[in-house]
Symmetry: C2
């Protein structure tokens, strides 16, 4: 066993936002490494026929309420953003630009958390270049450098490969976790992941 | 607050089966009454556009695995039945026949648990009259009396009214709970329901 967690997330996903508060701490506690993998869930939906919950009658209204309740129970800042859901391609590419530049995810995770916060706590449009520039500055990055980097051909290709690979592995929702090769879908499966890690899988 | 749980279930739903082991005990612990409400989820799907997970690419394979893992973690007997999913109309009507006859759910719940067991633990076709006859006998009911009762016009009408009412209330999945008027979808929301009951809602 490699004791490794892949945390697939779409920046537009409230439940990925909720999971982002927990997964690193949980992994560390049980001696696991944790890799964040932003993806564009729309690509997987094309294969699965899935839809954002906002497009499903009955489920839509419930899910909005459920996210608000979950945030209240978790005591984390949250509101449904005005632009919701949103194409999450720009912040995802910026994430990979940081990761590829540094050869690790330290700064990239810091960026991801700031993106989630901007979107779900501050109601900002995270596709807008000026918002991403602000986020870059807030973590000590140069906005112009990041803006150029995330539009480079290498990063675009990298992001494409990530999405293809995620779909190949069966990732169809967000958040989605692959732990020692075992798949878990949804922030409400965190208790199962914890149990899996604690017992070393079974 | 009326301290009352409505537990909506489709007998074809593995996650309703899993929840059936927990909800009564949880309700009792916190001084809640619990009403089981079998329904035909297909009727709600017609409104929501939802589908059984078996019809969704990618999600299908994952969900089969997830139900097996959940059963393993819960230590309850489980296998995917050969006929899955299944039309759950006959056992649902039999449930309401028992409920209406007795004016309470004591026997009806006993029957429901036996139906879940026959389907998910013993791989029996719970739409088949001979299987329902066996289940009836196992809880001390006369199979012929039940067979006739569940086909009566009153019970058919009762079941129709139940389904219409469930859809009216926004029930789009199974299991689905309405606790003091608050909606919770999925067996993985039981921890939230527990918290809700303990704190008296908030």
């Amino acid at each position: 066993m490699n004791k490794h967690v892949e945390f697939y997330l779409d920046f537009a996903s409230p439940f990925a936002y909720f999971a982002s508060f927990k997964i690193d701490e949980m992994a560390e506690k049980y001696g696991y490494t944790c890799e964040w993998i932003p993806m564009f869930l729309g690509a997987a939906f094309q294969k699965s026929g899935g839809k954002p919950f906002t497009e499903v009658p009955m489920k839509h209204e419930y899910s909005i309420m459920d996210t608000e309740r979950t945030a209240r129970f978790m005591e984390v800042p949250y509101q449904i953003p005005d632009v919701f859901p949103i194409l999450s391609i720009n912040p995802s590419r910026a994430f990979y630009w940081l990761q590829e530049r540094d050869g690790n995810q330290v700064k990239a995770k810091k960026f991801a958390k700031a993106v989630f916060h901007a979107y779900f706590a501050e109601n900002k449009n995270i596709m807008a270049p000026e918002v991403l520039a602000e986020v870059a500055k807030s973590i000590g990055e140069d906005p112009e450098e990041m803006g150029a980097g995330m539009q480079s051909a290498e990063i675009k290709e990298k992001f494409k490969v990530v999405n293809d690979s995620a779909i190949e592995k069966g990732v169809f929702g967000s958040p989605f976790f692959i732990v020692d090769g075992e798949a878990f879908w949804g922030s409400d499966r965190l208790w199962m992941i914890k149990r899996w890690m604690r017992s070393g899988g079974w």
